[in-house]
Subunit: 488 residues, 2 copies
């Protein structure tokens, strides 16, 4: 058999036979994709051809390709081989930043590798993740409160204000946390933020030095991981089992002084961190003098069972920083969230926020304070919980029971989304592509894993579905379309 | 003469007779104040006693004390000697952060030394700096636009949106800059920010590595210097003369790749950067491959003469990042500003902003876009310019002509504040203390200098007066109160 012409030079790829071959090959290919030696949309050699050229088994090449596939570096076209993905090259190679070396700073280099999507969400549709039922927000009330505030605003509130946030709003947040989440704190511990993202980003900036290991759930919430990575952290993925974050694996990490967790409803698996694990996590933080950033993601949405106390309410050593947001009760575009930090940290957080943005918009803070003080907020939480439960039921009712290659839909006791495991990445891609073809948005679970996960790529597959963003009629329509699209 | 007992051990202070003695003594005392060896409110030895103990001239001690005084490390009580200031120790020594070493990160240590005031402004009063005539803002119109938006908002605009800002708002900002400032740019170069502060802070984070020298005007805008210092810059003060920033001094700096400037109306001196200097500055940036952060502070307020083109409009090499804000036309609490960056930098800035805060509040951006599109904004700028000019006139009319130890009030051709030079720091403090006693707010010019300025302390003195924040009647009242308080 004559060797085919390969689009990459196999002689340049040196594999050490004493190490994992698939992993080395994955790294060699990834490097060439990132630096542009393997350019966007280039067709890769068939696995058997590359295996032959490198003198390794075909299985080694298939495993390396699978990993690249799972991470979006390459993509398959049915019946037409494997190609370098377009978007990877667009971000990492064709960018004018890299081309011109315009910004050689370390931070901008980290931003090349780690950033959020630059595209806006567009109108809500089934089954977008991270979107509450904001079609139910009482906009008429909000419009009235806005108009009331602006018609005759107190001028003293429109100058430069406290970096930590409007004092009245912070009082009301403290009262809400005490009554609803069992978290007793002083308003002086509260820093109003531009959503949960700024809360996490401030933690990343103040608690992490470049090169520090930071423990994150794996799979986990990417936007949080990004904030830590952009601050220079080395992300250390910790497995999530039926009880939540694997605290034994965390304890075995050397030199790690910060863990980011979503205990109420793990993102994306939907697991609730057990009480035993909560206590182990707190013990770890006290023993290691480490920080826990507790993102109380979806904490307001619980449909059955007793909600567990947040870590911040159990913390006696002052090691927990609690992240809350109004986005999941009101709407994401509001950009209003908060941090509750141990008292000795409050000043540093307020100062960093002051230097970064001064403070949040005065009117929005004042109107939200009035919205809470007048009882609209608590009423709306109850309405949103009922709506989310009803939309969850619509999803469970219409979900195909016998979907090939899919595990059963799990019980959904909390939160605004659910993860369904799928057997293999190819099946995951196929189901999602067919859903997209009929206008239904589903996120691949494989997207939520860190690039260097030890978990085998085929065990990372699944479908992540948000169920709260649209109403029951649209959910039923989307499910009918899916059943047709998925019928083999 | 027997030696008096001194509250500090002079034997611990080693002065090298080959170096500047006053400077060494200043540094030794400052170090002891910062690390708590000289504690808050401690009375310092009289200058003649310390001079005797150290074997130096009394003039050396007086000069060191003057410098510490100018920087707020020590304070005088009339007829009662000199004391370590209370606030220095509160920030640097008594803080629970330092006490518990709760946050040993480098960033938090920088925040100990560099931060904005944590106290809100309170209601506007004469002669607060940095406040426009926001009592004239058309709140009824704003309330109507807010209510219109919120009564039936497009849901697609309330999800997660573009980090760089609302596309319609960016189009309108680009059109405004083209028509009003002669700055032609593409909306894709615009990043909406949380006021000028976030714009400057993003520049500091993306363009500065820890330890980099950054050139700032001296005296200059402190909040900008803080943002660079918190990002790890070594601030290099550049003198400001009658033509603005001394570009020869800038060119002599080794290894400096970033300059922050306020060309329209230098803060705080009120100088406009001459055209010749603008061109020299741009040549410097092109030659050194350096960045210029142009803060178009007060750029909308010009009362006579032709406005000069912003640096960003003259820039052909893509080295200028332009900072604008709505705070000085609307009100500071709005927290809406923008950056215009060279095209190759736009993506990195949008990405950093996305990771830091996602984006600005959707409603505020949409309402501001409508406010501009409907013509209210341009109308309001004209109204604000007329008001600021009339308030300036009220200040010039009522200002005491024969104030001892003060230079004449300069011509005020632009901006919202004016600086009056005073002969000596003692006189500056005296005038400001007497003004404060009758409820009139005046900022000391000496506060705007970098700590290690080569300018002699007595040449840094002056009064900085904002004239736009309150109306003509209140200005006249404040001036009457001042004339009485200042009459000797």
């Amino acid at each position: 058999m004559s060797s085919p012409v390969l689009p990459l030079d196999p002689a340049g790829i040196q594999l050490d036979p004493r190490q994992g071959l698939a992993r080395q090959l994955y790294q060699a290919l990834r490097e060439r994709i990132l630096d542009g030696r393997l350019s966007s949309r280039l067709r890769l050699p068939a696995s058997r051809d590359l295996a032959h050229a490198l003198g390794v088994s075909r299985n080694t090449v298939v495993r390396a390709y699978d990993q690249l596939y799972a991470e979006g570096y390459i993509e398959g076209r049915t019946g037409d081989g494997t190609y370098v993905a377009a978007r990877t090259t667009a971000a990492a190679v064709q960018s004018p930043l890299v081309a011109s070396c315009a910004l050689p700073s370390q931070l901008s280099q980290r931003l090349q590798a780690h950033h959020l999507s630059e595209r806006p969400d567009g109108p809500p549709r089934a089954f977008r993740v991270g979107v509450p039922a904001f079609d139910l927000f009482p906009f008429a009330t909000w419009a009235r409160l806005q108009a009331n505030f602006w018609r005759n605003p107190p001028l003293a509130r429109l100058g430069y204000a406290e970096a930590a946030g409007d004092p009245q709003l912070r009082e009301l947040i403290a009262a809400y946390l005490r009554n609803s989440r069992g978290l007793v704190c002083d308003p002086g511990q509260i820093i109003v933020t531009s959503g949960a993202q700024q809360a996490i980003s401030l933690c990343a900036q103040l608690l992490v030095e470049v090169g520090d290991p930071v423990a994150v759930e794996n799979p986990g919430y990417r936007a949080a991981g990004l904030a830590f990575a952009v601050a220079g952290a080395r992300l250390q993925g910790i497995a999530v089992d039926r009880d939540g974050l694997d605290t034994a694996q965390l304890a075995a990490l050397k030199g790690c002084r910060l863990a980011y967790v979503t205990p109420s409803h793990q993102y994306p698996t939907g697991i609730t961190l057990s009480l035993a694990r909560r206590l182990e996590l707190l013990e770890w933080a006290e023993r290691e003098q480490a920080w826990i950033v507790e993102d109380d993601y979806d904490g307001e949405y619980r449909y059955s069972g007793t909600p567990l106390a947040p870590l911040a309410a159990l913390d006696r050593a002052g090691r927990v920083l609690y992240v809350g947001t109004f986005s999941k009760i009101a709407f994401p575009g509001l950009r209003l969230g908060y941090l509750v930090v141990p008292p000795p940290l409050a000043q540093a957080f307020a100062r960093l926020r002051g230097v970064a943005v001064r403070h949040s918009e005065s009117g929005t803070q004042a109107v939200m304070a009035e919205f809470i003080a007048a009882g609209h907020f608590q009423r709306h939480i109850r309405r949103m919980r009922r709506a989310a439960r009803s939309r969850r039921d619509a999803l469970l009712r219409g979900w195909p029971l016998d979907l090939a290659g899919c595990q059963a839909m799990p019980a959904v006791e909390a939160g605004l989304h659910v993860s369904v495991r799928v057997e293999g990445l190819a099946r995951e891609r196929e189901l999602i592509a067919r859903a997209a073809a009929v206008g239904v948005e589903i996120n691949p679970l494989s997207d939520y894993w860190l690039a260097d996960s030890s978990e085998a790529p085929e065990r990372r597959a699944g479908l992540v579905l948000g169920f709260a963003g649209v109403d029951e009629v649209q959910i039923a329509q989307a499910l009918r379309a899916l059943r047709k699209a998925w019928a083999d």
